[in-house]
Subunit: 214 residues, 2 copies
């Protein structure tokens, strides 16, 4: 190896593992926060409890969050980011519009253990945001994002001729958003009544019904 | 007044005001519990905090609930009882089936300040039940009751010829339940996006769409 290449390697290399490590660490910490919230509730998710859960010191956690407010913000942000990333991947995978949009919406539903964890945390923090203005702003932004996406889904289905052309797109976006979040609440709180296959079936039936003629 | 009648009056009278007083006291205490939950969150709703809110002693509260578990159970029970009582009154008021069933379902939605308080408490306790098995049982029973009612609504609309005869009643009951609870969550968390008139409109559109031919 030439000395110059070696120097270049030394200068360049550390930044890549650092980014990878930071992302992995962020995910590990978020999962520690989620475990505490899911096991003991939002109120119990203090910086101290999360440090214990993650097997680290409170000092080391300060880089990520200094207060419980920041910790809950962090936990909610990760839920939204992960659902968004999966949704984008599902959208990019292509296929017929109705099937593709159904798959994107399914990424917000608790259809496996990962999404179940996210949905439980989302529900806990959605309720907590009723008494926590700092969290309410983040909850409102993520709700507005999903709501806008639901409206886009309806518009896309109309444009593709899958849904009826005379639908009230705004009202149907609101109704689809209610179905998606209602199913999310029921699938985490009533998992035996609403297992993943049934949850999918109800959502698929809703999209299909948008094509029914009056 | 004859002595016998006087004696009878004395024996009988006290029980009526007692019942009325007990019911009023129960309601006052529930509202004190709700105020604490809505203002400070479920975790802050201790027996001590509720006694302070209600302007009474912890000893006096023991008649109603001795622990926070019992207090939260009490708060959730009252939400369910009040929605059920209003729903029964709306059902008894008569009228065409579609309009009547819509009015009954509306009693579970946060369309005024009273129902908004109930829905906020329901949402807070539904989330709390994820980490509280004692509360989970009550949440499951009340969810099962609303779910069964949604299925009955669909069946009644089919029987009355308002909804399509070939509907999958169980699936549509599940979908209606999702719409109702999804709207409830959104109307308390996004009140400016989903004011009462819009909430009603989306629910009415859902019931109307059950009559659309495929």
């Amino acid at each position: 190896m030439l000395p110059n290449a070696k120097v270049a390697r030394l200068c360049y290399k550390p930044s890549v593992p650092k980014l990878v490590d930071a992302e992995r660490r962020r995910r590990e910490l978020a999962e520690a926060v989620w475990r505490v919230i899911r096991r003991d509730g939002v109120a119990a998710a203090s910086v101290r409890a999360v440090a214990r859960e993650a097997g680290t010191s409170m000092g080391a956690l300060r880089h990520w969050f200094a207060t419980q407010d920041e910790l809950l913000h962090f936990a909610m942000t990760l839920v939204v980011e992960r659902a968004r990333a999966r949704g984008q991947a599902a959208a990019a995978a292509g296929g017929p519009p109705a099937a593709r949009l159904l798959r994107v919406l399914e990424e917000t539903l608790p259809l496996d253990e990962e999404r179940r964890a996210e949905t439980e945390v989302w529900l806990a923090l959605t309720a907590r945001a009723l008494v926590d203005p700092a969290l309410a702003e983040l909850r409102d932004r993520s709700a507005a994002e999903l709501h806008a996406f639901c409206t886009q889904v309806v518009r896309a289905l109309v444009d593709e001729g899958v849904a009826r052309a005379d639908l009230d797109v705004d009202l149907e976006g609101e109704r689809l958003h209610a179905v998606v979040d209602g199913l999310a609440v029921h699938a985490v709180t009533r998992p035996s009544a609403l297992p993943p296959a049934r949850t999918r079936e109800v959502l698929a039936a809703h999209l299909a019904a948008l094509g029914d003629t009056p």
